[in-house]
Symmetry: C2
Subunit: 117 residues, 2 copies
DNA sequence: GCAACACATAGACGATCATCGATCTGGAGG
DNA sequence: CCTCCAGATCGATGATCGTCTATGTGTTGC
């Protein structure tokens, strides 16, 4: 129970009824999860992930991703990079073409982390 | 397959190998999900949720939430509001004390949405 | 009714983010 | 080797966000 203003030297004000808090996640774990959710916190990136997920083998060529999200090519490239950095997609170059695939288990892991917060 | 530069009046360049894209999520759905993910995209809010989740009955008094995240009281209040607006927490006033609880099923629903992107 | 407490809101400020056009880099075809 | 294509990066710009202090609002105890 925290108090504000000048601290009372006498008895503390009445406490609320809640039992003492358990710890919850530590800072590192919270930061890790938040980083992934931040990557997902933008509609364009959610759409990109769902487009990749909808493809056969959960893999798509970049050229199939740009038009559906209606953004410029550099913007799509930027968003795809954010998703790779968050560990949600992997990137593979085949000749001229770049392919992005769901990182196996990544979304399931995040889902599990959420359910066991 | 999109081309850049001057459009070729002749045959289109060779296509990539990917099958035609399935639709993925529509814009509205992606925006809705992104809104919830954005609420989770900040370590302080993830910690707050986990602190609430760790409490008996998945409910906590605000006064038990401020100290562990190490932010000022108004900042914590702001973050709690964001989580309520995202539908992840509910708020109940009891006299002077405000209690926040996990919205039943909310985290499971988000987890399910993630797994079925 | 007043003072104290718990918490919400307002507004400012610095940091971060999404978007674009311009440009660069690497691969492929001729 | 040159040209074209696919996609990445850079830098600028406007928008959004996290944080704070100051302050407001509602509740409670005296």
């Amino acid at each position: 129970m925290t108090t504000t203003g000048a601290p009372a030297p006498e008895a503390a004000p009445p406490a609320c009824c809640t039992a003492p808090a358990a710890d919850g996640l530590d800072d590192d774990r919270a930061a890790t999860l938040a980083r992934v959710f931040k990557a997902l916190g933008e509609p364009a990136r959610v759409r990109l992930l769902s487009l990749v997920a909808a493809q056969e083998g959960h893999e798509a060529c970049v050229c199939d991703l740009t038009a559906p999200v209606g953004l410029s090519q550099p913007t799509v490239s930027h968003h795809l990079k954010v998703l790779v950095e968050a560990g949600l997609l992997t990137r593979r170059q085949r000749g001229r073409w770049a392919y992005y695939a769901l990182t196996p288990g990544a979304l399931d892991q995040v889902a599990e982390d959420l359910r066991t917060l």
